[in-house]
Amino acid sequence: MRIRARLDRLTREWIRRRQGPDREAVTLRRGRIYILPTRLGAAFGLMLFAMLLGSLNYANNLGLALTFLLAALGVAAMHACHRNLEALVARAAGAEPPFAGNDAVFRLAISNPGRAPRCDLEAVTTGTAHAPMSVAAGDESVFTLRVPTRRRGSVVLDRIEVATRFPYGLFRAWAVLHPAMHCLVYPRPAADSPMPPQSPGLAGGGTRRRGEDDFAGLKDYHPGDPPRHIAWKAFARSNELLVKEFSGDAEALPVFDLDDVPGPELEARLSVLARWIVDAHARGMTFGLRLPGEEIPPEPGDAQRRRCLAAIARFDAPAPDVA
């Protein structure tokens, strides 16, 4: 078993050396598709060998013909298995950041530029695999890979195998991708932590909010934007919901500050911040974030939640975990 693990590691390193890192979209060309018989294929080979010996021994020509036909079927299956991967285009298609402890979801899009459907493709990475899926001719399918996370920061998906055993399961062809896909891992929100009082005076936590004094332009509507700011005239023109933005003095809005969170543990304090951000967003509030060296002005909406969570995920982050 140790030898096998070592062999496996050496193979992986060799493949990484000869292929180098991958860019966004990778066409699976012949040079990067590997193929070996499966256990079933080995058993099939043994069966053929026994049939060959029997037929030769008894000088049975039809037995030989049967053996050779099956052997040739195996060869055809090998070629077909290899072809089943060839010329596919694999593309990293983003990832969904999780809270630490949940699974990061990486997406790999595989498109089939050929005329034949590609059957039973698998995307495999250490400890996780997407169920086999087929990609119709000219179509694209998205494989999701769920990678468990332990801690805040980020996780890197460094190696994906796109594999297939189609047809017959006698051979397994695979291609190795080194996409270096990153996914942020948000701190796990602390259990119930009351938000700081919303007062502008709070440790200078207030900031100028864009007021309603001077019209500054139009921006996309986000849920939570006050309806009276919607540019109805623009909507009538273009069917797009836009809201008017104003600049000017306004009342101070909460800005969550790391320094406001007591405690000795950075991670625990970040978790409290995460809790506040999640709760504030859930309530449809407008909020900002201040970390040492980074400030995010108050905004409402999903994008703001993402931005803030990403900022605390990145803040003084440990080295990424490699999946």
Partner: protein, 656 residues
């Protein structure tokens, strides 16, 4: 009773099981009638039960029950077949094991084991017969089993519904060139890796012993024993004596080949023109070969001629073999007979068949010479109330006495046995010769078919100054048997096989065509041996068909065949012709990507265009125009060429 519909998973499971079971039953097909009835019944019942159980969701039998069944059937095979290693016992065991495996089939691996067993059963049916009919059954079976493997090896739940039979069919077609090359150039070996193939399988045909009634049983069998192709004209029917086993030892009831053998081959002098021919012998499980009397030359290294002029191979004939031979119908053989062999040819069991011995001694005393005595015995058969019949009554322990004085109804074996006994009793060395007499001429292929129904037995006597002379006592009772064949002697009888066939010219014709097909098949495929391979290599221009020639031919052939396979696959998997609108749109997307605006997965063209407009208001108008034109080209029922030109022009001028 209506069954509730199955869940999709159970339906998929049922489908897999149905495919595997179908393949297995097809593979069992040729064996079902050959296997003992209980084996066939058990296997079929297991298949049926398993399908019903899967459909209704019954539980599988427990390990204990399965173990008990396994033990039971193994004991059954040992009792029924007395061995588990022979072809019959092995096939029975394989069939039973497949049935048992079926009772515990759950995952894909169990299914693949069943499919592999199915392929082995296909191989086993070729060990029984290599004729056209078997091949015609096995090929679709192999196909079906491979399709079943495709079904059980599918891993994706969804995906394109590939018809398994068709997909596997095209795969097999792609495989055919490789298989052909392997078949043609994979060197056949002479001899075998392990011991001589076991000969205990029950093959119809002559054996090296003969009891009363043996040959008449054989005569009911229409199976082909061998086919003969003559280089010239075939000899006339009365000369078509195909010598087989020569029987020297008699125990009063049964004739045996005997233990005493001599490698000494008496001299043969022949006169007249020889007959040259090639025999394609179906498997006999015996060591003897058949040749016209008197054979002089035969394919060297194949067989040896023993002192009784019979040809014997070193190993039992368990596959179709072919040999060339030259015979002289007119001959004088073995003028000198050693004392030991003379004694052997005079042996009679002590105090058996006393009345016959007494009769012979009396008749010899009355006859002037050995030749006159022989004639007297033949006259006895001819003139007294002796009947030639296919259904002779059973005989007592002293079979010759019982036949000569009680039943007086017999087939060729009875007459040969009685005649030889009388000769020996009178002091004339004699023996029984088994073989075939006659044959059906196949006008379609121009060859002679010798069937089991042509089995015959006659006598040979040794006369001083002349040597061994063939005497056929059956000729005295039923001369038409020798002149015109077995059918002529029993024209009224329905007992002979193929009675209907022989009466109807159409059936006769069809039968001859079918037999000719089998003969060609034998010559081309079944008999494709090392000699034929050497010839093929010589024809292909190799000077010396040694291993280098084989390696070269195999290498080049495989390269060409796999090349064809790869080409076919490359054609199947060729890229789609991209439509020009998509290409233009892709250029547009590419240009934006270089400016940092990338289209994300799943973003529709319209959404993308809106995003472009937001990010780069200056590009909004052309981006929207390109997108709308593109969408019109893609989704309008009848896109116009003008639209395509507009799209191309827009994209050409789009410089972000």
């Amino acid at each position: 009773m209506r069954l509730p519909p199955m869940s999709p998973e159970r339906e998929a499971g049922f489908r897999r099981l149905a495919w595997t079971t179908a393949g297995l039953v097809a593979a069992l097909g040729p064996h079902l009638l050959r296997l003992q009835l209980w084996v066939s019944a058990f296997v079929l019942a297991a298949c049926a039960w398993r399908l019903v159980a899967e459909r209704r969701g019954w539980p599988m039998p427990s390990a204990l029950v399965r173990g008990l069944i396994a033990a039971g059937v193994t004991v059954g095979v040992v009792l029924g077949y007395s061995t588990i290693t022979g072809l019959d016992g092995g096939t029975a065991l394989l069939a039973l094991m497949s049935a048992l495996k079926l009772l515990e089939t759950r995952n894909a691996r169990d299914h693949t084991v069943l499919i592999f067993i199915g392929w082995f059963l296909c191989l086993a049916s070729f060990f029984y017969a290599q004729d056209v009919a078997t091949a015609a059954w096995v090929l679709p079976t192999v196909w079906l089993l491979a399709a079943a493997l495709l079904v059980v090896s599918r891993r994706g739940a969804e995906g394109p519904a590939l018809p398994p039979f068709r997909t596997t069919g095209t795969m097999l077609l792609k495989a055919v060139p490789v298989a052909l090359v392997l078949f043609m150039f994979f060197p056949r070996i002479a001899g075998s890796f392990w011991g001589a193939p076991s000969a205990e399988r029950a093959l119809t045909g002559l054996t090296e012993e003969m009891s009363p009634g043996d040959i008449s049983d054989l005569t009911l069998n229409d199976v082909v024993a061998f086919r003969v192709r003559f280089s010239g004209n075939p000899p006339p029917p009365p000369q078509r004596y195909w010598r087989g086993p020569v029987l020297n030892e008699f125990d009063g009831y049964t004739w045996y080949r005997g233990q005493v053998q001599s490698i000494y081959r008496p001299k043969v002098a022949h006169r007249g023109a020889p007959v040259d021919y090639a025999v394609t012998l179906e498997p006999t499980g015996q060591q003897m070969l058949f040749a016209l009397d008197m054979v002089e030359n035969w394919t060297s290294g194949f067989a040896q001629q023993s002192w009784d002029f019979g040809l014997r191979t070193r190993k039992p004939v368990n596959a179709v073999i072919r040999y060339d031979a030259r015979s002289y119908p007119t001959y004088r053989a073995g003028e000198y007979l050693s004392a030991a062999l003379r004694n052997l040819s005079l042996q009679l069991p002590h105090s058996r068949n006393p009345r016959t011995v007494e009769l012979a001694l009396g008749m010899r005393g009355a006859a002037a010479s050995d030749a006159a005595f022989i004639q007297a015995v033949l006259n006895l058969f001819r003139e007294q109330e002796f009947y030639y019949t296919l259904t002779p009554p059973g005989l007592a322990r002293d079979s010759v006495d019982d036949f000569m004085f009680n039943t007086r109804q017999g087939f060729c074996g009875h007459y040969a046995s009685a005649f030889t006994t009388m000769m020996r009793a009178a002091g004339i060395p004699a023996r029984v010769v088994g073989g075939y007499q006659g044959g059906d001429w196949n006008p379609v292929g121009g060859y002679l078919i010798v069937r089991q129904s042509h089995a015959h037995a006659w006598s040979e006597v040794w006369l001083s100054g002349e040597g061994w002379r063939r005497v056929d006592p059956t000729g005295a009772v039923a001369p038409e048997r020798i002149e015109r064949g077995i059918e002529a002697s029993f024209a009224e009888s329905d007992l002979l096989p193929g009675g209907l066939m022989r009466d109807s010219p159409l059936f006769w014709q069809a039968n001859m065509l079918w037999d000719n097909l089998n003969a060609q098949w034998n010559d081309l495929i079944v008999q494709f041996d090392r000699t034929a391979q050497d010839e093929l290599l010589l024809n292909l221009g190799f000077d010396d068909p040694g291993w280098q020639a084989f390696a070269t031919a195999l290498g080049i052939g495989l390269a060409v065949a796999t090349g064809l396979l790869a080409l076919w696959l490359a054609f199947e998997f060729r890229p789609r012709r991209t439509d020009p609108a998509a290409m233009a749109y892709r250029r547009f997307v590419g240009r934006l990507a270089r400016r940092g605006i990338e289209r994300t997965v799943g973003e529709t063209p319209r959404d993308f265009a809106k995003r472009v407009r937001r990010l780069r208001p200056d590009l909004g108008t052309p981006a929207l125009a390109i997108t709308e034109t593109y969408l019109r080209l893609r989704y309008e029922p009848a896109p116009t060429a003008a639209d395509l030109q507009v799209l191309r022009a827009l994209v050409a001028h789009f410089r972000p």
